[in-house]
């Protein structure tokens, strides 16, 4: 029990449960329906998968601002490949490949040239967005989805979550295992916690960093494939501002932006919490501006309470 309380993700979990319960009480007929839960889980998938990558990056002491652009670029690449007549698998892999390469390249700048992650990913955020627009000829690309759309669309009327949801869960579980139970994962924590110590202990710091950014790229790519599956068009202007949403999910989930701390489970809870707030507000029929105030308020209250709780636990 005490171990549970000490977990970083415990606070956000409580916030999630409380917020969920409140909406359930306020709108039992609509918010309580299974279809709503299904829709929410679908809507969380893109942020969640991107947040898994961002957790790795943040734990390693970095930050990734390019994830929104990367998602957009991937959706365009996938659409382009489908238009050219390639199969869905080729298109999806092609999209992921591009995103992974971009991630690894950014990682190389961070690791080898010791450039600041903030600046590198700020630059690539702009470059990838431009590339997406250029590649798409400044338009949304209409592509035959060839089955890719089913990744995030349940069979009409059915309550079985679509493949994308399971994919996100699988990615999260794998990444959590990677972080907690492999040498690479421990190295990521070590690099984020104290890079000099890591180097002293023979951790291949540069390779770890490049690896982290490449994985984040890959996952941004996967998120992009799912974004395409949701939009069914390649949209170069999509996912603007996604980076903040993703970082917020990770930080709400207990990660520290100075590195060395963070959990996949926490990030998933953070991502879901934000979807719940958004959906709940829609169900309540709140105008957008009220919704924004409520969202901000919940973020503040949730993490403020978390602070108070931990403060009282330690002193």
């Amino acid at each position: 029990m005490k171990a549970l309380l000490a977990k970083k993700w415990f606070g956000p979990l409580v916030a999630l449960v409380v917020v969920y319960a409140i909406f359930l009480v306020l709108r039992p007929e609509t918010f309580g329906r299974a279809a709503t839960l299904l829709t929410m889980s679908q809507q969380t998938v893109v942020v969640a998968i991107a947040a898994v990558g961002a957790t790795l990056v943040i734990v390693s002491g970095g930050i990734d601002l390019s994830v929104g652009s990367s998602v957009a670029l991937t959706s365009v690449v996938v659409a382009k490949l489908l238009v050219r007549g390639h199969g869905p698998l080729v298109a999806a892999l092609g999209g992921c490949l591009v995103a992974t390469l971009c991630g690894a390249l950014g990682g190389a700048l961070v690791a080898r040239l010791k450039m600041l992650p903030f600046i590198v990913t700020l630059g690539s955020m702009s470059i990838l967005r431009g590339a997406a627009k250029g590649l798409a000829n400044e338009q949304k690309i209409d592509a035959p989805a060839r089955g890719l759309e089913t990744l995030l669309q349940p069979a009409a009327g059915s309550l079985r979550p679509p493949t994308g949801v399971f994919l996100a869960i699988a990615v999260a579980v794998l990444a959590a295992l990677l972080l907690s139970s492999t040498r690479f994962g421990r190295h990521v924590f070590a690099v984020g916690s104290n890079e000099r110590t890591a180097r002293l202990c023979g951790v291949p710091v540069e390779r770890v960093k490049i690896g982290v950014y490449a994985i984040a790229g890959l996952l941004a790519g996967l998120a992009g494939v799912l974004e395409f599956s949701m939009l069914t068009v390649g949209d170069p202007t999509t996912a603007v501002g996604l980076e903040l949403e993703v970082i917020a999910a990770v930080v709400i989930g207990g990660a520290s932006l100075s590195g060395g701390e963070g959990s996949i489970l926490g990030a998933m809870i953070g991502a879901f919490l934000m979807t719940v707030i958004k959906t709940g507000a829609t169900h309540m029929g709140l105008p957008n501006w009220v919704q924004e105030i409520v969202t901000g308020g919940i973020i503040l209250v949730a993490s403020g309470l978390d602070r108070l709780r931990r403060g009282s636990a330690t002193s």
């Binding site: 492999t182 421990r186 070590a190 000099r196 110590t197 023979g202 951790v203 636990a313 330690t314």
Partner: protein, 485 residues
């Protein structure tokens, strides 16, 4: 002057102080002794207002003293030099010295006055560090002097607390510090002095108080107590020989360094260390001993020269060195030696993780080392930052032992470690040598070098002298070569 009665302090489940009594008179140098984790630093932190006591009373000069924050302590006339170096890394020496007490004129900083005050304080402790140097560019010794100067920059305190001030100082600087302490105590300032060097305590202190497990277990006059008796009080039992030394026959050469030069230091250093041998390297602070070890280990850039261990030719990278059985213990445990945010168990296993890590086995391993080295830790899962300074040092050393390297490069391995644990570490080193390992020991503590090493070489301004058998050295001979005479 200062009277402490029944002070208690706990961090969560850890009871750091369980009942401390202490009395210090004006003008007295009072040593606070105790093993690692006994609660010395915690007591000092309570006294300087860093955190409040949970119980007990403190009076200062007859008045009730319970500072709400460090600033209140300063104003009450209590100044402290903390055990761990704690300058603002990116600020200059001058900015660090006067932090929190800047002189202003008409709302703006009075630069002339600031520089004067800073320069005066530095001169007082005998530091020659330029005022505009950034703290992060200074050696630990230079930083330590700045911290001592900082305790005096606001004018004479009534009570000065020094928590292991000499642990990173060289002999010269330490001498100057002792002279300063004498001067201050003659001026009526009370001084609390924490140190694991009991010879030092003998020299500077008049009275002492011993803490064990967070409680006062004894107090007395230094002149009337032998070092052995102090140690016995600290440990709660007699401690056998400090430098256990057994026969460890010298084997074939293992580590060979040839004409190795770094970007600044060392300059064409050559040495050979055999299996079963402990090679000591002596020298003044700044001589480049640390750099020598770092270059050998592949952490710093090599300009020329070569390192060989068996068939391996280096240096290339720390990973490579570790893979070929060479390990380094860093002298900077806070900034480099340990990842403060990670747990004891994670720090301990960091250099030797299996591809798949099982938390349970990490903890079991850590538990073994905790017992073997007598590390005092609440839990192996707690962040290593919660350990006392000496216990952190043990964790850093344990990592090297756990990695089971053949060549151990030890940079100030006993910094901040209590006498009993020192003996244990020396025994450990002795055992390693017997097991055929090669050990390079850098230390500024001459008795340690003379007591443990088989051969000693002296480094002076980047150049490494010839390594000669221990029998040919005396303290005097080492010092003479170290200053380049």
């Amino acid at each position: 002057m200062l009277v402490v009665r029944g002070v208690e302090k706990h961090f969560g489940a850890t009871h750091a102080l369980t009942g401390v009594d202490l009395t210090v008179a004006a003008g007295e140098v009072h040593a606070v002794l105790g093993e690692n984790g006994a609660g010395k630093s915690t007591l000092m932190n309570v006294l300087c207002g860093a955190f409040p006591a949970d119980a007990g009373t403190v009076t200062l000069g007859g008045a009730r003293y319970a500072p709400a924050d460090p600033d209140a302590a300063f104003r009450a006339g209590v100044a402290i030099v903390h055990q761990e170096l704690s300058l603002c890394p990116r600020l200059t020496v001058e900015e660090n010295l006067l932090l929190g007490d800047e002189s202003t004129r008409a709302g703006f900083l009075d630069r002339r006055r600031l520089r004067e005050r800073a320069a005066a304080a530095l001169a007082r402790v005998g530091s020659t560090t330029p005022l505009d140097a950034r703290a992060l560019d200074l050696s630990p010794a230079a930083q330590q002097l700045v911290e001592i100067a900082r305790a005096l920059v606001r004018g004479e305190p009534r009570l000065l607390i020094l928590d292991e001030p000499t642990s990173s100082l060289g002999a010269d600087d330490a001498e100057r510090l002792f002279a300063l302490i004498g001067e201050l105590s003659r001026a009526g300032i009370a001084i609390l002095y924490v140190s694991h060097f009991l010879e030092e305590v003998k020299r500077v202190a008049q009275r002492f108080t011993v803490l064990r497990d967070g409680a006062t277990v004894g107090t007395g006059a230094v002149a009337e107590t032998s070092i052995d008796a102090m140690v016995t009080q600290m440990a709660g039992r007699r401690v056998e020989e400090l430098f256990p030394r057994s026969e460890h026959p010298r084997g074939e050469p293992l580590l060979v360094v040839e004409a190795l030069s770094g970007s600044d230091k060392p300059l064409a250093a050559s040495l050979v260390v055999h299996r079963g041998e402990v090679l000591g390297i002596a020298g003044l602070v700044g001589a480049g001993r640390t750099e020598l070890l770092r270059v050998v280990f592949g952490l710093d850039r090599v300009v020329s020269g070569e390192v060989r261990v068996g068939a391996w030719r280096g240096p290339r990278s720390p990973r490579d060195a570790l893979d070929h059985g060479v390990g380094l213990l860093s002298e900077d445990r806070k900034g480099e030696g340990l990842a403060q945010g990670l747990s004891l168990a994670e720090n301990l296993a960091l250099s030797r993780l299996p591809s798949f890590v099982r938390g349970a086995s990490l903890r079991a391993t850590a538990q073994r080392w905790v017992e073997r080295l007598g590390i005092r830790a609440g839990s192996v899962d707690a962040p290593v930052s919660e350990l006392s300074g000496g216990n952190q040092q043990k964790v850093a050393l344990a990592r090297l032992l756990h990695h089971d390297v053949d060549v151990l490069l030890l940079d100030e391995p006993t910094r901040g470690i209590d006498v009993r644990s020192k003996a244990a570490i020396y025994a450990e080193i002795d055992a390693l040598a017997r097991a055929g390992k090669a050990i390079v020991l850098v230390s500024s503590f001459l008795p340690e070098l003379l007591g443990v090493c088989d051969r000693v070489a002296v480094m002076c301004r980047g150049r490494l002298g010839e390594a000669r058998p221990i029998a040919e050295w005396t303290e005097h001979a080492i010092l003479k070569e170290a200053v380049g005479a």
